[in-house]
Symmetry: D2
Subunit: 295 residues, 4 copies
Amino acid sequence: MKNVGFIGLGNMGGPMAINLIKAGFSVSVFDLVPTSVERLTAAGAQAAASAEAAVQNVDVVISMLPASKHVESLYLGEAGLLSKIAPGTLIIDSSTIAPESTRKVADAAKAHGLSMIDAPVSGGVAGAQGGTLTFIVGGSDTALADARPLLEAMGQNIFHAGDAGAGQVAKICNNMLLSVLMSGTAEALQLGVNNGLDPSVLSEIMRKSSGGNWALEVYNPFPGVMETAPASRDYEGGFLVDLMIKDLGLAMASALDTGTATPMGSLARSLYVAHGDNGFGQVDFSSIQKFFQRD
Amino acid sequence: MKNVGFIGLGNMGGPMAINLIKAGFSVSVFDLVPTSVERLTAAGAQAAASAEAAVQNVDVVISMLPASKHVESLYLGEAGLLSKIAPGTLIIDSSTIAPESTRKVADAAKAHGLSMIDAPVSGGVAGAQGGTLTFIVGGSDTALADARPLLEAMGQNIFHAGDAGAGQVAKICNNMLLSVLMSGTAEALQLGVNNGLDPSVLSEIMRKSSGGNWALEVYNPFPGVMETAPASRDYEGGFLVDLMIKDLGLAMASALDTGTATPMGSLARSLYVAHGDNGFGQVDFSSIQKFFQRD
Amino acid sequence: MKNVGFIGLGNMGGPMAINLIKAGFSVSVFDLVPTSVERLTAAGAQAAASAEAAVQNVDVVISMLPASKHVESLYLGEAGLLSKIAPGTLIIDSSTIAPESTRKVADAAKAHGLSMIDAPVSGGVAGAQGGTLTFIVGGSDTALADARPLLEAMGQNIFHAGDAGAGQVAKICNNMLLSVLMSGTAEALQLGVNNGLDPSVLSEIMRKSSGGNWALEVYNPFPGVMETAPASRDYEGGFLVDLMIKDLGLAMASALDTGTATPMGSLARSLYVAHGDNGFGQVDFSSIQKFFQRD
Amino acid sequence: MKNVGFIGLGNMGGPMAINLIKAGFSVSVFDLVPTSVERLTAAGAQAAASAEAAVQNVDVVISMLPASKHVESLYLGEAGLLSKIAPGTLIIDSSTIAPESTRKVADAAKAHGLSMIDAPVSGGVAGAQGGTLTFIVGGSDTALADARPLLEAMGQNIFHAGDAGAGQVAKICNNMLLSVLMSGTAEALQLGVNNGLDPSVLSEIMRKSSGGNWALEVYNPFPGVMETAPASRDYEGGFLVDLMIKDLGLAMASALDTGTATPMGSLARSLYVAHGDNGFGQVDFSSIQKFFQRD
């Protein structure tokens, strides 16, 4: 498992591929954007002329693409990559896409004699650069065992959620819950502040009580409470509202597919869409605090 | 601060007073229900014939009553208790009531030369019995310092939220957030399960990820995931849905008073009311999981 | 029933009193704001030096005040107006206040030998000026019969909702429903427009179909669809967002009192509060359309 | 336009085809369920052995199928019906499906030299049988003009919403709004009743006021208020909760596609899904009233 073909070298894929190179893997790369490729060759990758070229003579194919349609279009169909990859090769798709798409590609991969895991990540650009990503994996134990050295070169935590598609499901469930607890935390803090409480004191009380959650622990949405949080640098960087909206879209689509009632997640999605419409699409998602503040 | 007058000996107040006796305080008690009083005298309390009698010759008055109207009616008015308590006495009201009511009583207490803290609790009946309650306190530093030995005899954690009423505010903010994260957690788990995931595996992944929260940590709402949680004993006991509805009512009233938008908390309240209307008022609030399950 | 004491001469009360004068009633008026009183004396009213003075030697007392606290403080208590009004006098309170407050005042009025109806209005300033208000009345048939000539001088439609307080209840139920259907209409129109539909065409289809409602009939929230609607004059005038928030506050308080689940109304309230916080408090409530539009 | 090929003879399609026969059209039919076909031949239709056979030598093809996948699978692909229909033929698809699917089929139809309209219906089984359906049409003026005599044989109202797909969009916007106003009406009525009001009196007041909407006009959800409404026959028949959930799924999918915030519609969907999960999937959608009532 030494030779890797890596497709998709954006903000996330680029640094992930670089970490593989640093860990000693031989990486052949492809992206539609030439400057993204150049950044990788400068770091020691071999540039391939096409996706097909990138996956020749490799043990593992890794893809990191924006959405379901890109992944389906890359792998499936008569001209799809699955028919160009040597049997026995392992595919790691780290894109965050619809579980249904993942399952479709995984089934097709199997029919071509390929094993595949879905391994969407959390941790953002900083995690991709620092090699501290979390991978949430769907697929067989064997495939995950094969993938593990590569995942460990790119991340810190690896969760095995279940069979094909389970990685995607677990990620969108987690991010839906995250949107709910971030909105709920922001609103609870605002209610306290509107009653004259100090947001730091209230945050600390709730953090240690039954309201405790990840936002209060490491990502407080109220400006000034937590020096290291995006809230204290005007919500710059971090996990963008537009990306949260994308993930919530996947969660909602899955709720429709499975007939699940998701009142809290649906409401959070609508709040985030309205927040994005107000011009906050490109700032951190903890800026939902501003939704609750008086102008 | 050795002599205590304790008013309100219900499921919470009763065991709290017993813990004071065990800690060596001399406790004079009153309740409208004779059997509640008898339980306390059996434990070493002195029965008082009236609320007024209970607060004579004491250093501290503690009250633990169901709602704002009971607290206002006890302390305020021409025949109210404030005019019967010796100046310099400390009042600890541990009832969970509207911040506005607390502030009204605290102001009146001050006018009578009395100091007062609001010290609503969390931890439920088990916490009251075990002396492991959490107190969230509003009031001056001095008053809290005076109250501390008594609070420590009844509880484990003491938070100072701010001035008069701040204890109530912090508690209702926390419980509103709790209702949101419990509903959100239940819905995220259901979405995962409806997609074929194992609720234990998904719980563990989210617990360690950005969806992490108190429910996933110690109070998982999905049956079978956490042996010690109410979900694994058919939601018996715990923090009743009807009590959560009461606390959410206080949060909503405070949101109205302060003109705060609380979309997530309001929705959680409506879900809990509908859930209670379906016959779940007297089971643990994590039973909201059933709201998301198909019959 | 010829002599009227009128208290509260604001944007609504002022023109209502003027319509009574035009209809031949003799009207004695009081307001804390001198210019409001002057406008009325110019129209033929007698200025009274106090509320108490305004209600001497009258057959009917009408009040039009901002909120529950003003009404309670006017009528109740030892110095309250109820003890200054001659037995047999009819009281018409046209303020929009909490049903609970109305019932409290009506009970006290009865104890003083006075009959009373609650008669909150809809129709806004234009309706008050044009004498085309709608009155929603709570109280006895007899009291309403007595009040009818006066109500007819000020309005066009009179509904009898039930006993004391029922006028308030019916009004807040109606306005809660109105907030829901206005938000729902705005969101449905936006979904259509975002799909390329013409808002006028879509409005007309839904108006004649099962989506038909008052907003589509006479108050379309989408700019340009309905020439006479506030949406076509940049949402100026009309029924202000801040007033809708006030009415939704009364509805929510009533939902808390009665333990009613109001998921749609609660959500509409939060949307309106967030909308108001964004700077739209002083424009027409159909401007909620902007909440759904991309900046 | 005298010869019609009709595919899909279920609860809706069957009676629609019968009305065409009654109006003098010659109708060739196909359905996978033999008894559905027999019912039609008994009414004067010619049974075709396949979908392909049904569309030979006809002027118009009408389809009435359950979901997007059935319509796409019928018309598209190498073996799809579009390649079997003579150029110049008009296609009327009356299925309620995703606008995106409709547009895909309409584009493909055009490429085959066929014109097509999407003409989803409202009015239910009773409307299909009585020939009183409402058609909401997307497509060109010419195509609609050609289709009109057939639509008039099956329905009463015809709306032209815009280009291809617009019929679907307008229908799902309308039904999303309908779900919102039905839920909102039910909740407003419950708030009134919980305050002691008579539901008939309150309904009448709101119907004539700014809360007026289709539900209050002809489809009151409160039992006993409107004799002819499903609420007065234990919610039997009518527009089933499961069908409303289907339409709300289409609306939500469209909201995701277009990035539209739909807080009210999303919440209504979740309420309806939870209501269906409680065992109400096969009763009329106005039964959402029960969601708000105490057991």
